[in-house]
Subunit: 437 residues, 2 copies
């Protein structure tokens, strides 16, 4: 029977890795997860498909156009486009079964039908944490979040990164004091600083109709760069008589004071009055994180404080603070820039090659190694020995154990370290010691 | 501004857990994953959305009606309904970059718009392993698969389970020898034995038009139950002169011989000539796994050997063998039957409660514990002490550390074991020893 061959391919904008890279990706995901758990965040796993009326309760905006939305029977369905809206729905739905403050993490795929461009994915992993309070949530949590970011990126192998911290109230209070009406529009322009530079920000503020005097004040404000203490002193000395500003200043002051106790070294965070975050959503502390040697990657971990998580699903006030890592994008950027590389990533530690008629003995050794939790594969196919070694090499398997009739007779194994090339025959117990190292 | 409240809910047939249960679920998933990796299986992660023409290349059948399929722009898209079709596409697409034999595992969500019924999910996790050969794949792999099943379910805490093993060729050779024309139809009827019993099988075979003499022979054949060796002797003594039967018998013999060397105890596997597997797909060895005390759960892990994985995507011959665990279904059944329970599942080990003005010191202790990889939360909200202890209790957090002014003065901490009720004040280094245990 002739079968019609269909070209095997996936959709553009979807990431799919070979096992070597997948091992690296999973390793990053595991480290993020373990760090989130270390700080007391608990897992949830919401459905990828939700009711459109629930997922799109907020409505409008850029995101809605990007949503994968479809009809099935009588149901109007959508794929989740972030993990925050499902969290809001989850907390409102399970409110009576949840203990507050509710610390949850979720790591999962989200979907956005973005314009196809390099480094942007239509299916990608987000790794989110949020702390949700019932009616209230202490500002201490805002000081703790940077320590989660710090610990996570340290654990991912990074040293030279900076967590930039600001407070939306400081900005919006300042704008109010300047008698600017559309402060949200100003925030959105400021958020583009990285992309369009200070002169670009100036131009866009001018297009917004602000006068030169005001624009100069905003630019000067955004440019205050010095030590964290000096920034706070500087802010104080501006004598801005606005309640929102004052409240934001107090919060920023508090966060700066406690962040040290949470173990974040001074070199890894900075107060930065130019950090705005594009989303309307945030109402207080905001965070962005940058790799100092690769600023063009943009923020690799962002988030902030919001007054009310779930206004569309409940009348309760549920303030929160959280961050998100867009792992698929980050991974692809790190690979692209060769900041991480799939050199010698492996899971399987030993390939057993049974010679001649020693299959039974090879299997027995594999069974012993696996009981010792040593990840082991038996090469069971026919073929030349060179091909089998080549297989170990291609899979980055660091050790090969050869079992032939001489080894069986001597109750020994021959073990080869693929990296050093060293090969030695020894008792299995000796080989076990090497492999357990 | 008044916001319209939308009732927060998810679609029927979708599983969503509270964190306590999610911890248990994730723990099971981790154990399965680690066991798969121990046997040399490497991870892949294919997209959940694929091109419909690719995913539905095989076409027809019950599954197609259940597919979540939709149009977006010019693209006809579908959500994956298993992990096998994506594997076939993956191997054909990445053929030149893959080393064979290719051992991969994939754990992920799949989608089937099934009729809404208890214990059936529309979004559920599958945990699959497969070994794919290029042109050939040794029968040794068929003997190894039961050892992966055994090791996995042992690691999940089960003892009393049976892996039932058969070979499709033994059945189809036998049917051919009986001169039955539609042997696939007979296989499908036999596969229903668990549900309809031997008399039901007899009736359906009769409806198929088989005569009573043949039906009796089939029923007798299916009823051969004894030790594995006796079954093989019994099969041999039937003197069935059919090449397919003989080939299947040799394979079954081989699998039975080597399965012991792979460390599977005799009590955990059995040759069972009544195991057929419903899918047309399988061509040799087939597996089903049962919890002996809960037969009504049905098979909790099934799979088998297939001649050709990717006939729809490549002209290459890619034989394979694999198994799948439907984890969402299994988890929900185990919870339902109270075989597993969310009693005291926790991730966070310590809740720190800072008293009076000891917030700074509480945070410092948390930072020290986290550096020692002890999962820690600081309770930062206002409230009565009883409420805070209650919080630890609800989250199953086993230890509470209290830090008040006396403790700060004495450079000590007070640690309470929530389960025993014991409370003691000691140096932090002493508390660390307890927590690391």
């Amino acid at each position: 029977m002739d079968v019609q061959i269909i070209k095997p391919s996936i959709l553009p904008g979807f990431m799919e890795l070979l096992p070597g890279d997948q091992i690296l990706f999973n390793d990053m995901m595991d480290r993020i997860r373990n760090n989130y758990e270390k700080f007391g965040f608990l897992p949830i796993d919401t459905p990828i498909i939700e009711k459109s009326e629930v997922l799109l309760a907020k409505g409008g905006g850029e995101t809605e156009k990007q949503i994968y939305r479809f009809q099935r029977g009588d149901n109007d369905l959508s794929l989740r486009f972030d993990l925050t809206v499902p969290l809001a729905r989850y907390v409102a739905q399970h409110f009576s079964e949840i203990s507050f403050p509710f610390r949850r993490y979720q790591i999962g795929k989200v979907y956005r039908g973005e314009r196809n461009q390099k480094g942007r994915f239509r299916e990608f992993y987000q790794c989110d944490i949020d702390i949700i309070g019932n009616e209230n949530l202490s500002i201490i949590n805002d000081a703790e979040i940077p320590s989660v970011i710090y610990s996570t990126f340290k654990e991912l192998g990074f040293d030279d990164f900076t967590i930039k911290i600001n407070n939306r109230k400081v900005l919006s209070g300042f704008f109010q004091w300047l008698k600017i009406k559309d402060s949200k529009a100003v925030l959105r322009i400021i958020d583009k600083l990285d992309k369009i530079g200070m002169s670009g920000v100036g131009e866009e503020l001018s297009e917004l109709g602000l006068n030169e005097n005001i624009i100069e004040k905003i630019k000067k404000f955004m440019s205050i760069k010095s030590s964290n203490e000096e920034i706070l002193d500087n802010l104080k000395s501006l004598n801005i008589d606005n309640d929102i500003f004052k409240s934001g200043f107090e919060e920023l002051n508090f966060v700066a004071k406690y962040i040290k106790d949470f173990g974040v070294p001074e070199k890894n965070y900075v107060l930065d009055l130019s950090i705005a975050r594009g989303l309307d959503y945030y109402t207080g502390t905001v965070y962005e994180t940058f790799l100092n040697d690769y600023p063009k990657l943009g923020s690799i971990c962002s988030g902030g404080r919001y007054d009310n998580l779930a206004a569309h699903y409940t009348k309760r006030s549920l303030p929160g603070v959280g961050i998100s890592i867009g792992l698929s994008r980050l991974f692809s950027q790190l690979m692209e820039e060769k900041i991480i590389e799939n050199k010698k990533n492996f899971l399987t530690k030993v390939l057993i090659i049974p010679m001649d008629d020693c299959l039974k003995e090879g299997i027995e050794v594999a069974t012993i190694l696996r009981k010792e939790n040593i990840y082991t594969q038996v090469y069971t196919e026919e073929g030349k020995i060179g091909k089998k070694f080549n297989y170990a090499d291609k899979l980055n398997i660091p050790y090969v154990i050869i079992i032939g009739s001489q080894e069986v007779k001597d109750k020994a194994v021959t073990i080869k370290n693929i990296n050093s090339g060293n090969q030695e025959t020894m008792e299995l117990s000796e080989a076990l010691k090497i492999l357990k190292n």
